[in-house]
Amino acid sequence: MNLEEVKPGQEVTILGLSGKEEVLEKVKAMGLRRGRRVSLLQRVGRNLLLKVDNSRIVISRDLAKGIEVQ
């Protein structure tokens, strides 16, 4: 499944990121990379609030759709 389908409170592992946007490089540098554990804290509007390690990261749904998770 992809990150967009994850339910709040659920913790998943990232399998890979796809997409051509430049912004993906930033997303990876922020810690959303293959093999990392991510939990979804909240969904508000078009965005998801994630927790990766000790940081909280907001990304929009359209980006989350391109992130394969398990």
Binding site: E21, E22, V23, E25, K26, V27, K28, A29, M30, G31, R33, L41, Q42, R43, V44, G45, R46, N47, L49, V52, D53, N54, S55, R56, I57, V58, I59, S60, D62, L63
Partner: protein, 690 residues
């Protein structure tokens, strides 16, 4: 004295600016908003026999830049070549932060690693083996707590020692394959790893090599290098960090459950905004009254006593009481209001709530065709339009940036509030409602402006939302006061220079030709009468109002100081007995009372700042109220709200976007102010039957 150029580099929100504040002791602005340090901020400190110049770079996650502030940091490291880099790491997020460390090390510049927020890491059960990290990389590793300043003292001697010994980090070793590849493209002995990688990635004549590598490794070369960097950062992390499992509940998570609640989050935000403005007015009102009394009943008679005892001419006496007390003194009364507004805005920023507003409100903003992040510069605009426009640099796309810059000038700043509160209290029974309406009108115009721009010039989609939310932190009072002081100092400076000059200038125009008896026959009177017809549709035929608008282009609050000067030229002064000791006692007593009232006001449920007081004795107020009607006062406020009557804002627009944009926008705002001012006069005329 030798000088050392030090760059502070790190991810957003790692506390670089706070550290700089502690080291250099300069009053720099620090915030939790990722990217608030979009401008290059510098601090200078003398230590031993050295002048250490510290540059605070914008926060970046990687040296592969995308947004404007990331480019600033990237270019600085590549082109300005600092003597030393202080790599600040947010210890709780060390694995992520180490990626940048690895990229910085590729540049082979002397470097010191600063493990910041070490206290927060300890609370989370994170232990870092700093000696081992130091040994692995060949760099010094220091631990600090940026909030309290603990450990900061050790930075300066270490900077000097590293600078003197020219200690370079150990050469970074990637995998054998990559290292061999990099050696192959080496042409000179002293090329840094960063230069070799750049060459391998981008040089035209190596295109064939890149194609070959892609075949051998099955991925693009830049992917290969990125993977190596991540692997290096991850490896370092595993080597030096140990985690104890802790079950401590995170305060940030609990607070976010409420403040970022899908349903209640937005109402809570509006409630907080209401409280912010209520508090600023209620708390500052008693102090404003006190400053007013202090200037008029204490400073003014004291100085005038001094002037007459020195035997100075009558004109000196008049210049002082009309231009200095009437003009500058009047504007100074508003210092408490400005200080409180900035204090509360800074508290919101440093506590970590401000970036959350962007996330929360993206839902609404998105529907209006704007990026959630745009809201932060807009909110900062309520503090001052100028830094708000600078803050738009953190937005990723030019479209978003231009849209927001076209909105910010309609966000009403304290300078406008100063003018509003004078007129609203003077002419209306419920001044709070009038002021609230003006703020709303500004916001409405801002969104309408953005809407029409979006439908015409700036089409295109809204950019993805990617941002980090920092943990909630309670800023120290010292930090908040420092930030407030920067703004207050700036305001006082302007009062002493720009506003003073404008007041004296107006006063001179009012008194030329010499010996003029009636101000309306002076030069100022003629100029005012010449332009007054333009403002007739707004109900502002009075030449004194029109005249005061001219110098107000420098800054809006000058409208009041100019009026103060013009009107007080007409007032006949009454002589009062002045006893120094008695007046001093009164002032001290008054300050105590103001403090008490301020605290009491804070806890009243309803804003009390605008309970109307009879101020019939005040001659300026009386004169102004004679020359305007409620409808024309409203028109005047609407005009001043919308027209970008602020040299600072126009100048920063010019710098950030360009001359054409700044001039067209100024003309647009002037036209809009005039049209809506006229409309307000008509509507007011019907409502209040004048």
């Amino acid at each position: 004295m030798k000088s050392i150029k030090v760059a502070l580099a790190g991810n957003p929100n790692v506390g670089k600016t706070s550290l700089l504040n502690h080291i250099a002791g300069t009053s720099l602005k620090v915030g939790n908003w990722p990217g608030v340090t979009v401008e290059k901020r510098e601090g200078k400190v003398k230590f031993w026999d050295y002048e250490i110049n510290l540059v605070d770079l914008p926060g970046i996650y990687t040296l592969e830049p995308i947004s404007e502030d990331e480019w600033i940091a990237y270019n600085y490291i590549r082109q300005e070549k600092p003597d030393l880099i202080l790599n600040i790491i947010e210890t709780p997020n060390m694995e992520r932060d180490l990626l940048l460390t690895v990229e910085l090390l590729e540049h082979e510049v002397p470097l010191i690693i600063v493990l910041n927020m070490i206290d927060e890491a300890q609370k989370l059960g994170i232990e870092v083996n700093d000696r081992w990290l130091s040994e692995l990389l060949g760099v010094r590793v220091l631990k600090t707590n940026g909030r309290t300043g603990e450990g900061v003292k050790a930075l300066l001697p270490n900077i000097v020692e590293v600078f003197n010994s020219k200690e370079k980090p150990k050469s970074l070793r990637y995998s054998k394959e990559l290292e061999e590849l990099l050696e192959k493209v080496r042409e000179k002995g002293d090329e840094t790893k960063a230069e070799l990688i750049r060459k391998l990635l981008y040089r035209e004549d190596l295109k064939e090599l890149r194609e070959n590598l892609k075949r051998v490794f099955g991925k693009e070369v830049h992917e290969l290098i990125k993977d190596e960097r991540y692997a290096k950062a991850h490896g370092l992390y595993k080597e030096v960090v140990s985690k104890k499992p802790l079950t401590a509940r995170d305060i940030t998570d609990s607070l976010d459950k409420v403040l970022l609640h899908p349903t209640f989050g937005i109402p809570i935000f509006f409630l907080l905004m209401f409280l912010l403005f209520k508090l600023s007015f209620d708390f500052s009102k008693p102090f404003m009254d006190w400053v007013d009394g202090f200037i008029n009943d204490f400073v003014a008679p004291l100085v005038s006593l001094l002037i007459s005892s020195l035997g100075a001419g009558d004109w000196v006496q008049r210049l002082f009481s009309e231009a200095v007390v009437g003009g500058v003194g009047f504007v100074l009364t508003f210092v408490p209001l400005i200080a409180v507004i900035y204090f509360l805005l800074a508290l919101m920023e440093f506590s970590g709530y401000l970036p959350r507003v962007a996330f929360l409100m993206d839902r609404l903003m998105h529907r209006l065709g704007l990026h959630g992040k745009s809201l932060v510069p807009l909110l900062l605009g309520f503090g001052c339009n100028v830094p708000a426009i600078v803050a738009t640099r953190a937005l990723e796309t030019k479209r978003d940036k231009l849209l927001v810059i076209a909105m910010i000038p309609f966000m009403s700043c304290p300078a406008r509030l100063v003018v509003f509160s004078f007129f609203a209290v003077l002419f209306f029974k419920n001044p709070a409602i009038i002021i609230f309406f003006l703020y709303l009108l500004g916001i409405l115009i801002a969104f309408l402006t953005a809407f029409s721009l979006r439908k015409t010039i700036f089409r295109g989609n809204i950019y993805h939302f990617v941002m980090e939310l920092p943990p909630y932190r309670l800023p120290t009072l010292r930090l908040l006061f420092k930030v407030v002081w920067v703004y207050v100092r700036d305001f006082l400076y302007r009062a002493g220079t720009l506003i003073f000059a404008a007041s004296v200038f107006i006063w001179l125009l009012l008194n030329i030709p010499p010996g003029v008896k009636n101000p309306s026959e002076s030069i100022a009177g003629y100029v005012g009468k010449a332009i007054a017809p333009l403002f007739k549709p707004l109900g502002l035929e009075d030449w004194r109002i029109a005249t005061s608008l001219i110098p107000a282009f420098l800054a809006r609050e000058i409208v009041l100081s100019s009026m103060g000067t013009i009107y007080s030229a007409e007032v006949d002064k009454e002589e009062k007995e002045f006893s120094f000791s008695e007046a001093l006692r009164e002032q001290v007593y008054g300050l105590g009372k103001a403090l008490k009232d301020a605290v009491l006001n804070t806890f009243k449920p309803v804003p009390s700042a605008f309970e109307v007081e009879e101020e019939g004795t005040d001659s300026l107020r009386a004169l102004v109220s004679q020359s305007l009607s409620p409808a024309s006062a409203l028109a005047f406020m609407v005009f001043l709200l919308l027209y970008t009557s602020c040299l600072g804002t126009v100048a920063i627009m010019w710098k950030e976007v360009g001359r054409r944009f700044a001039i067209v926008f100024l003309a647009y705002s002037l036209l809009l102010g005039w049209l809506l001012g006229t409309l307000a006069y008509r509507i007011g005329g019907v409502l209040w039957n004048t």
